[in-house]
């Protein structure tokens, strides 16, 4: 259930475009006709109402407007000013009522201006309907997002890349194939080359033969000349004469040197014989002699030292014997052996020890006895008694100390208590009191008790004094602590002395026991002492000191005696050895007849003399050797000179003359002759050498020329041929080898190219790039397939669903549109190539589907009004808002205007408030006519007067400004016109062959009868399609003054001609393609804005004809659009179908096609007449 919003009043104080405030009141709840000239504020009223109903949220406008309206029985006041928009409901501030969303406000405003200016055809409405048709789904946007398309994506770059790579690959492969073909001839080429090479080789061989044979001739000539010369000349160098002279000089010097060397050798031999007539002592012998002399010298020294030692030992023995003499005789000494001497020594040591021990014991015993005698009377008390005395005195001192301390303490208390007792007794005496008596008694008691506690120590002291005296202690002066302490010190010292005495007594006893033991040891030795004294004649009292001394003297003598004996033996041995050495020396010198003196010094002098002689001998010997070596060297030199001399003479082929041992005159003459002969031979040498060289060179040339062909049988075969034959062969080979260089170069070049090709990667790389571009193109192909398949699927889905869910608004719009156009047009919803939805109109007569921009302005406005009215009616919410029509009838004829008004009044009949704004009086009249007699309230407002303050609405029709109706357009009457002139009067539209739909053909072209044509046009029919629809739907013409038979005939003829017109369009399209406009230019790839504008203008000037456009562009019609861009555009236009590569039909071909189409039903005259009309219409 919806409620209407009814505007009652509007006041505009300030609004852009309004200079003076004004108010409009008492709006009708039905229809309000607002009349006003342009700029009178009609649009401002609509704008003000929109601002009040849908105030802007974020921007504040400098407006001051107010309105009052009724809504569901409530009176609402709304005011908008700089502070915003405020509302009052029944004079109470309230929030604005809930209204349709602001986005829908344009649905309530139907402006002729906006409708005419709408290029999109109200795509928003269409899209909304399309979405509603598919259940709220946006198939178009989905298809756009998924890139579905009826045309495959143009991937020219991929194709161009593929073409380029294909071209490169083909070139590379062709190049490889060409090289391969060339290589097929390589073998033949190489055979030709080898043949030419063989000929070339023949030439080389022949030329070598020429050279060899020439050289061989030269060789033979030179060899013949050489034969007359001595063969040895060839070996001469030219220096032989000088060499011979040099040899002779050397020989002469050699002879002289040889004589001198012989003399020196003989002199040295004489000297050697004189030095050692018999034999020269050898070096070993001389060394042996010197060693023997040295040994003799050592023996002499050793004998001397031993002699001195014997003498010293004898003196020492004599001295020991002298010291023993008197006690021992020499006889006794001589009988004393080592064992006896050891016995004596042992006894003397034992006796000395025993006697010493006895002496030491006696001395200790004596000393202890003296000490004991000195301390025997020190005290009479024993040590034990003294210890008891000390204990008594110590105990006394301890008891005394305890007694003194206790007595001191008790004394204090005693005197204190005694004082208490005395005071107590005084008090008792002065004033009897029991407490005083008790205290005195207690004090006395304590005094008594303390006296009894001191008594034991005193008793102990007394007992200790008695004990001291009992033990025999020395009497003390007083028994006080100092005296007792002094007594204790004294007893202590006495006790120490007693203890020392006891220790001395023990030691003396030990000493006495030692004396006894020493005496016991000495007793058995005494007998032996006596016997010894008697034996050696010593003094009978020889004591322990004498006996050892005597024994020591004996030992000394014995040692000296043994030393004398040993030294004497060694001396004798040395003397014997020297004698033997002397004899050895005598024996060694005897062969040289040299006497050996006894004295060692003299022997050494003899040896020195021998050494001097040996030196002289060696010098002479060395001289002899030098002379001998010189002689040998001279002999060798002589041999060399002799050999060189012989060689020289033999090489010069001269009879050999032996060199003389001594140079005498005869010899000199002979040598001079020889030299002369030699000089003559050398003179012939140069001739010989020249011939030899010539011979050698010729031989070498011959050999070098023939060397490469030693194993060549052909060479040897040719070598023996005659010169004429060789020249012929050479000429033939030269002819064959002429192309050798070229063939070699060609073969090498080809081989090089083949080798290069074997290392190249041209085809491989081209294949790889071509594969990559093929893959890219395959992806593009897949993308195309996906786009097309997706698009086909989308169309399928669209077809399957679109009519199922068409919303009621669409059906209502289609109904309104059909009603407004009297069934002439049907509303459809179509999707364009961009996936955008738009309204189309289908001509019910021709079934031709037209886009909005293909409709006339009136039909277009009617379509859009119908759509908006349907939206307003069907899709709004609970509040029905007023509808504002702004000159919506401006483009409609009366009939259609009436239909529009009827549709609007139908809305007003539902309680919707309606506003119609216009500046046209005829429209006002139309409205008045339509409203008259209807049960719809309505009012007129003259806005100009309102703003001038004259009138504010008129309550009834008839009071408004009446304007005459607009003049109706009239068809020219046919009576005074021929067919041609009638067409001119009608301003028949031109037929654009190939572009204009056949159904849009004006009937004038195909209806020959002017009267029938007038009748047809009078029905409102403007095209062949309308006429056909009219006839098909009605089945006949309306009643008219033209007979039915006549009409049928005319129409039948017109149908025939229309077939010709269809052929005309079909044939004319061949080779032309779709017309080019701005959109198609973008599709073809012209995207740069500047170029697009310019090219689009050229396309328009060319009537969209692609070939003309391209021709203009190639002529430079657009600056900056060069040939490359033209080529790209050509491809693009061809791709999108604007440029048909087929050859366009000529006019004659088209005419023939038209004739062929209608030949069965009409003659050529009708077609020609039709073509003439078309041409005439084009002017």
């Amino acid at each position: 259930m919806t409620v209407p919003l009814l505007l009652e009043a509007l006041r505009i104080v300030r609004l852009p475009g309004i200079d003076e405030p004004f108010a409009v009141e008492s709006f009708s709840p039905g229809v309000n006709l607002v009349f006003g000239p342009n700029a009178s504020g009609k649009s401002s009223i609509v704008r003000a109402i929109e601002l009040l109903l849908w105030p802007p949220l974020h921007t504040r406008q400098l407006v001051t407007i107010a309105a009052r309206f009724q809504l569901a029985g409530d009176t609402w006041d709304v005011r908008a000013d700089a502070d915003g928009t405020r509302a009052w409901c029944n004079s109470t501030p309230a929030s604005a009522p809930a209204l349709p969303s602001p986005e829908l406000r344009h649905r309530y405003r139907i402006s002729l201006h906006d409708l005419l200016g709408s290029e999109s055809g109200d795509g928003g409405f269409a899209a909304a309907i399309a979405r509603a048709s598919v259940g709220g789904l946006d198939l178009a946007s989905a298809a756009s997002a998924l890139e579905f398309s009826d045309r495959p994506p143009t991937r020219l770059s991929a194709r161009n890349n593929w073409d380029a790579n294909r071209l490169v690959l083909d070139e590379a492969r062709q190049h490889a194939a060409a090289l391969h073909r060339e290589a097929q001839d390589l073998a033949e080429l190489e055979r030709a080359r080898d043949d030419a090479g063989a000929a070339h080789q023949d030439i080389v061989r022949l030329e070598a033969i020429f050279r060899a044979r020439t050289a061989d001739t030269q060789y033979r000539d030179a060899e013949h000349a050489l034969r007359v010369l001595p063969s040895g000349l060839g070996e001469l160098t030219g220096r032989e004469f000088d060499d011979a002279q040099s040899l002779l000089v050397q020989w002469r010097a050699l002879v002289v040197n040889r004589v001198r060397a012989r003399q020196q050798r003989d002199l040295a031999a004489q000297t050697m014989r004189e030095l050692f007539p018999q034999r020269v002592p050898t070096e070993a012998e001389r060394l042996a002699w010197r060693a023997l002399a040295s040994r003799l010298r050592d023996y002499d020294d050793r004998c001397e030292r031993d002699t001195q030692s014997v003498r010293a030992s004898e003196a020492e023995r004599d001295h020991a014997r002298q010291r023993c003499h008197g006690q021992a005789t020499d006889a006794q000494l001589s009988q004393l052996d080592a064992a006896a001497l050891d016995t004596l020594v042992t006894f003397a040591r034992r006796f000395e020890l025993a006697h010493g021990a006895l002496l030491a014991a006696n001395q200790l015993c004596d000393a202890l006895s003296a000490i004991a005698a000195n301390t025997a009377l020190a005290t009479a008390l024993s040590a034990d008694v003294l210890r008891d005395l000390m204990r008594v005195l110590i105990r006394w001192l301890a008891a005394d100390a305890r007694g003194s301390a206790r007595a001191t303490s008790a004394g204090v208390w005693w005197w204190l208590l005694l004082s208490v007792g005395v005071v107590g007794w005084v008090l008792l005496a002065v004033r009897w009191h029991w407490a005083a008596g008790f205290g005195a008694a207690l004090a006395l008691l304590i005094v008594l008790l303390s006296r009894r506690a001191i008594a034991p120590e005193r008793t102990e002291l007394t007992l200790l004094q008695h004990e001291y005296h009992r033990l025999g202690g020395a009497p003390l002066a007083t028994w006080t602590s100092p005296d007792v302490s002094g007594a204790l010190d004294s007893v202590s010292r006495v006790l120490a002395d007693a203890r020392a005495r006891e220790r001395d007594d023990a030691r003396r006893a030990d000493a006495e026991r030692a004396v006894a033991q020493a005496r016991a040891h000495l007793a058995p030795l005494e007998a032996e002492r006596v016997a010894l004294v008697a034996r050696w004649g010593l003094a009978p009292d020889a004591d322990a000191q004498t006996l050892p001394w005597f024994v020591h003297q004996l030992v000394t003598w014995s040692d000296a005696h043994r030393a004398v004996i040993a030294l004497e033996a060694r001396l004798d041995a040395a003397i014997a050895t020297r004698a033997a050495t002397y004899r050895e020396m005598v024996a060694s010198l005897a062969p040289h007849s040299i006497e050996v003196p006894e004295s060692t010094s003299r022997i050494e002098a003899v040896i020195e003399a021998l050494d001097a002689r040996s030196l002289a001998f060696r010098e002479a010997s060395r001289n002899a050797d030098d002379a001998e070596r010189e002689l040998q060297s001279l002999d060798a030199d002589a041999s060399g000179i002799t050999t060189a001399w012989h060689t020289l003479l033999e090489r010069a082929s001269i009879a050999v003359m032996e060199l003389p041992e001594q140079m005498q005159v005869v010899h000199e003459q002979q040598l001079r002759d020889t030299l002369d002969r030699l000089e003559t031979g050398i003179a012939q040498r140069e001739r010989f050498q020249e011939l030899t060289k010539r011979c050698r060179d010729a031989g070498r040339d011959r050999d070098s020329a023939a060397a490469p062909f030693l194993a060549d049988d052909a060479f040897h075969a040719l070598y023996v041929q005659s010169p004429e034959e060789l020249r012929c062969a050479h000429a033939e080979a030269s002819a064959r080898a002429a192309a050798y260089t070229e063939l070699v170069e060609r073969a090498a070049t080809l081989r090089h190219r083949i080798d290069a090709a074997k290392r190249a990667h041209n085809v491989e790389g081209a294949l790889a790039r071509f594969d990559a571009s093929s893959a890219e193109l395959e992806r593009a192909q897949q993308e195309s397939l996906e786009a097309l398949v997706g698009n086909a699927m989308l169309d399928f889905v669209h077809d399957e669903t679109r009519d199922v869910h068409r919303p009621a608004v669409f059906h209502r719009a289609r109904e309104l549109f059909a009603r407004i156009t009297h069934g002439r047009w049907q509303l459809t919803l179509e999707e364009n190539e961009s996936g955008e939805f738009g309204f189309h109109a289908v001509d019910s007569r021709t079934l031709q589907e037209c886009h909005l921009n293909q409709l006339s302005s009136g039909t277009r406005v009617q379509l859009l009004v119908a759509v908006r009215m349907a939206f307003v009616e069907v899709t709004e919410g609970p509040v029905r808002l007023p509808l504002f029509l702004d000159e919506a009838l401006g483009t409609s004829d009366d009939q259609r205007a009436q239909a529009l008004i009827e549709a609007a009044l139908e809305l007003a009949g539902t309680g919707r408030q309606l506003f119609y704004f216009t500046a046209q009086n005829d429209e006002m009249e139309t409205w008045r006519t339509a409203l008259t007699g209807r049960a719809i309230a309505w009012r007129e407002f003259d806005l100009a007067q309102i703003r001038r303050g004259f009138d504010n609405g008129r309550p009834h029709p008839g009071s408004g400004v009446r304007v005459p109706p607009s003049p109706r357009s009239a068809l020219p009457e046919p009576e005074r016109h021929t067919h041609a002139s009638y067409g001119a009067a009608l301003h028949v539209p031109v037929i654009r062959a190939g572009f204009t739909p056949a159904a849009a053909t004006h009937p004038w072209y195909v209806i020959d009868d002017v009267r029938v044509l007038h009748e047809v046009l009078s029905l409102g029919v403007a095209t062949w399609g309308e006429l056909q629809w009219y006839v098909d739907s009605r089945g006949r013409f309306p009643e008219s003054h033209v007979s039915r038979e006549e009409c049928s005939f005319v129409l039948e003829r017109a149908r025939v001609l229309m077939r010709a017109v269809e052929v005309l369009h079909r044939e004319a399209r061949i080779g032309r393609g779709d017309p080019v406009d701005r959109t198609r230019l973008v599709e073809a790839g012209v995207t740069q804005p500047r170029l697009l504008d310019a090219v689009s203008a050229v396309a328009t000037s060319c009537a969209g004809e692609a070939r003309a456009l391209l021709a203009r562009l190639e002529d430079g019609a657009v600056s900056g659009f060069g040939p490359q861009r033209v080529t790209a555009l050509r491809s693009g236009l061809q791709e999108i179908g604007c440029l048909d590569p087929a050859t366009p039909r000529t006019a004659q071909e088209i005419r023939l096609a038209m004739l062929a189409e209608v030949s069965d039903d009409s003659g050529s005259g009708a077609v020609d007449a039709l073509l003439a009309r078309i041409a005439a219409a084009e002017g």
Partner: protein, 442 residues
Amino acid sequence: MLYLALESQPTSLMRLLCTGDLHIGRRSSRVPADLPDASAADAWARIVTHAIHQRADAVLLSGDVVDQDNRYFEALGPLERGLFRLREAGIPVVAVAGNHDFDVLPALARSLPDGLLHLLGVGGMWERHTIENARGERVHVDGWSFPARVVRHDPLTQYVAPAIDGAPVLGLVHGDLNVPQSLYAPLSLASLRRASVNGWVLGHVHSGGLMHQTGDAPVLYPGSPQPLDPGEPGAHGVWMLTVTADGTVAARLDGIATVRYEPVFVDLSTCATETEARECTTFALRARLLDILTRSPELRHVALRVCLSGRTPLHGQLQPLVSLVREISDLGLAFSSGANATLSVTHVELATTAERDLTQLSASNDPIGVLARLLLTLQHGDAIDPALAQRLRPIPARVREARVFAGAVHTESLSDDAVRRTLSAQADRLLETLLRQRDQSP
């Protein structure tokens, strides 16, 4: 090295390096143009080096050594150089011609010095060559070469085994196995089994492998040692064939390819957000690459074909991920594996499915319902609506006749199946878009 089959070798007899379908003259496609060592000629040079290092007793080439499109000197030069190197190493080369080099290989063999290349079966006649190594051990190779570019009959029908002398026999032939209507020497496995040979080395299939059943002679397609396009995924290399005295044949694949085309399937069914999908994809790619590069360190480039799959609510929102994956060129592998290989993505296929009930959606009459019914029809393999079929019918012709594709049409992409696949994909995309619209509408 990838060991696909290596049997016990009781008595090792001969080690034969087998390869074929080199197509020298081409290079791996869909890889960077400046990628080094990416040509078949480079692969041949590596094969020669490998044969020398492995001390192979012979090299067997199973045809299509030279590519038809580049069969002249550019291809022959590297081939000759390799043959000379092998001769210097004392390794004989035995080959048969394939459909690509049926003419050029015999010509080359004639032009080369004797013994450099033993081309068997020239003119379509079976021929035997005996390989004998330094130890005096022998293996017979029976070979047959293409006499023309097209051979419609099975060459095995003309094969007559020579007298048996105890030495193992290998068959070497170029042909199409188990494709009876093939224009390239159709071979049947049964005829191969019937022949009394110890093993077959075939050519013509670029992604080869070893077919071996217990008791049967193994049939080996060595495949291209260097993959040439994304249709040849997986490991490529040469096969080292070990033939023992008792006729046992063992084969081992040695990877020498520098390029590897690898399909990677990423399951996004567990991803709830786009970030998770991105991380999941990156992780899967990294893991796969690390695995590949660890197994094949000789690779210099890996070209991935990524397929995003799985039933996920993100279906329809993965286009940014597709764009991201398509531009991936570095996953930081240099830090992880130390590999020296580059990376590219040749194709990203979005094969995810949405979490939606097509049956439920098909109940409505709106476009969503129509699309859902269409997808169900396509999924079931049923015939599509005649009206839609009518609309689709001229599309291949339109594409084919479009100027941009004239003369360069990839007919396989325009087959009925291709159109049907495209229709399914586009219907899915459109349905997803419309569902999103519906979800976003107030």
